[in-house]
């Protein structure tokens, strides 16, 4: 930052302050669905202001590359944002996270490359931090994208002996390169070595995580992308980057924490532990000896005579794109005077709030979406609980068996409803790899088949009935 305070500098600083305030108001708007659209627009306005005033800096002497970059990036971003299916939202958010992290790596590298005099200890440390966090974010996010999209990387966790030691060595080695770079700012090579090692670390960190643990990773990468931006703010001594970055960093951390709590696991356990060996003490066949199957017609008759219905969605609903069929069922039951509500577990789906977005897409009013605690308090007075594409989050073992891998995980107590209908293709286990005794309870009925098709057939049966 220049030491003399020219008029233009004052204008830029005030504009950055305004942008920061708009970001804060923008996030505040997201605390309610009614104000959320306006909040997002405020945030976008803040960003627009920040970009425009940055062009006023005297250091900015040529505009071709800036304009070209904004046009290319803007087109890619806009096309992705418009074309993406709501079910694919987790991978899109992962991808955007990655680009944010990548930008930090590049900006910090650019600062180092053009430094003609020593940028000072703080700036150099910040450059190293931007490179480290940014590269982990970029590559970690790309792997997360690949896992969720089903391209290039297996969805299942990739584990190997000694993996934690490999990661620790990578982290230490990249920190050592960072220190060497800080000691001699002309040794630019060290920065790129640091970035390469951090890239490998990012890949290894995320490749070891899979399936139902993805919400934690996405939230964590979200936080990293913010921290990377804040680190770049320290490089440039720029407050708007620091403020925006730390807001996002805090947001990601809160979401990460919520996700971990909802699985009763520590962050370290999610990142480095994973689920252990599958418990084979009780063969699944014994547990599932009394499973009863049902049909869409029977479900329709049950619903016809119900007063209160709760539907619990899981990732399977996203996979079978059943949200619109669910909406049809909801409308039909409402018209018949049956009260229908939705119980959403915090880790249902592949990112925080995934189910809520899908149900909102299908026009389900958001006041019908109940949080876990709220829905648990009404399940005892519920006639029919329908589970669609969820498994571990409704497994009563979490309450009853202290030795289970999901022991203590808060669940949605669908077993307390008068009747539970589980729509599922087979009796295969969920992500935790354990059988679910819910399926064999006296009040449980299995509706085997594709979620969307089963709901559609139930709707047809209800209309005819």
């Amino acid at each position: 930052m220049p030491t003399e305070y020219s008029t233009i500098h004052v204008i830029i600083t005030i504009a950055y302050l305004l942008a920061s305030v708009l970001f804060i108001f923008g996030l505040k708007g997201l605390t309610h669905p009614r104000t959320a659209v306006r909040g997002n627009l405020l945030g976008a306005t803040g960003m627009f202001i920040a970009v425009i005033v940055t062009l006023l800096y005297q250091e900015v002497v040529s505009f071709q590359l800036i304009i070209a970059g904004v046009v290319i990036g803007g087109l890619i971003g806009a096309v992705l944002a418009v074309k993406i299916e709501m079910t694919a939202m987790p991978q899109l958010v992962a991808l955007f996270n990655g680009f944010g992290g990548g930008a930090s790596v590049l900006v910090a590298g650019g600062e180092l490359v053009k430094a003609t005099s020593d940028p000072g200890l703080q700036a150099l440390i910040a450059i190293a931090a931007s490179g480290l966090i940014g590269a982990v974010t970029f590559w970690g996010s790309l792997v997360a994208f690949g896992k969720l999209q089903g391209v290039g990387v297996p969805d299942a966790p990739v584990r190997y002996p000694g993996e934690q030691i490999v990661k620790i060595i990578l982290l230490l080695a990249s920190i050592i390169f960072g220190i060497m770079m800080v000691m001699d700012f002309t040794a630019i090579g060290y920065y790129w070595y640091l970035v390469i090692l951090a890239s490998v670390l990012g890949v290894l960190l995320v490749i070891a995580i899979g399936g139902a643990d993805m919400p934690v990773v996405i939230a964590l990468l979200n936080s990293y992308s913010g921290l990377a931006a804040a680190a770049t703010g320290f490089v440039l001594s720029n407050n708007v980057l620091i403020i925006a970055g730390s807001l996002v960093g805090a947001s990601g951390l809160i979401l990460t924490n919520i996700m971990c709590k909802a699985m009763n696991r520590s962050l370290a356990n999610v990142l480095f532990g994973g689920f252990g060996a599958v418990d084979t003490s009780k063969p699944a066949d014994d547990i599932y000896a009394n499973v009863k199957a049902t049909s869409p017609d029977e479900l329709a008759m049950l619903l016809e005579t119900s007063r209160r219905v709760v539907l619990v969605p899981g990732y399977g609903m996203a996979v079978s794109q059943a949200q619109h069929a669910v909406r049809d069922l909801f409308n039909l039951l409402e018209s018949k005077g049956v009260e229908m509500e939705f119980g959403v577990h915090p880790v249902a789906g592949r990112m925080p709030g995934h189910m809520n977005v899908l149900l909102a897409e299908a026009d389900i009013p958001y006041d019908k979406l109940k949080e876990m605690d709220e829905v648990n308090s009404i399940l005892e007075q519920t006639d029919v609980a329908i589970v669609i594409g969820a498994n571990d989050v409704v497994n009563p073992v979490a309450r009853t068996d202290p030795n289970s891998p999901i022991a203590g995980m808060p669940i949605i107590d669908v077993d307390k409803a008068k009747t539970v209908i589980v729509i599922k293709r087979s009796l295969s286990p969920g992500f935790a790899g354990i059988p679910n005794p819910l399926f064999a309870l006296d009040n449980a009925l299995m509706l085997f088949g594709d979620g969307k098709k089963m709901i559609q057939e139930t709707v047809t049966a209800l209309k005819e009935g």
């Binding site: 959320a36 904004v70 944002a81």
Partner: protein
């Protein structure tokens, strides 16, 4: 040192502001929160612009692109890539968040 301490002060205070606000966001809006905050983290675009549009320094590695009549330094090339990355993040993030939030508003 003083500028660092100022920056640190801002950083710590902003984290607290972030915690205060974000804890109040309901779970229903967690996905839009992620994509929206993500867009905000695209603020790195400010740094990217400064790199991409900066003057060519003597120390820098210089490329000449004859047919575009453009002299480009390594730092401006890095800045150019960073502008692309950050703009994808900003434009895509705000637009997709808007798209999602409209869905929540529809039946209000």
């Amino acid at each position: 040192m003083e500028s660092f301490l100022m920056a640190l002060t801002v950083f710590v205070l902003a984290i607290f502001v972030g915690f205060e606000i974000i804890t109040k966001v309901p779970p229903t809006l967690h996905t839009p929160l992620m994509s929206g905050s993500n867009a905000i983290s695209g603020i790195t675009i400010v740094g990217a612009i400064l790199s991409a549009g900066g003057a060519v320094m003597a120390k820098d590695i210089i490329f000449s692109i004859a047919f575009l009549n453009l002299e480009m330094s390594l730092s401006s090339l890095l800045g150019f890539l960073a502008v692309i990355f950050a703009t994808i993040n900003v434009v895509g993030g705000f637009m997709v968040t808007h798209r999602m939030l409209e869905m929540f508003r529809r039946k209000d």
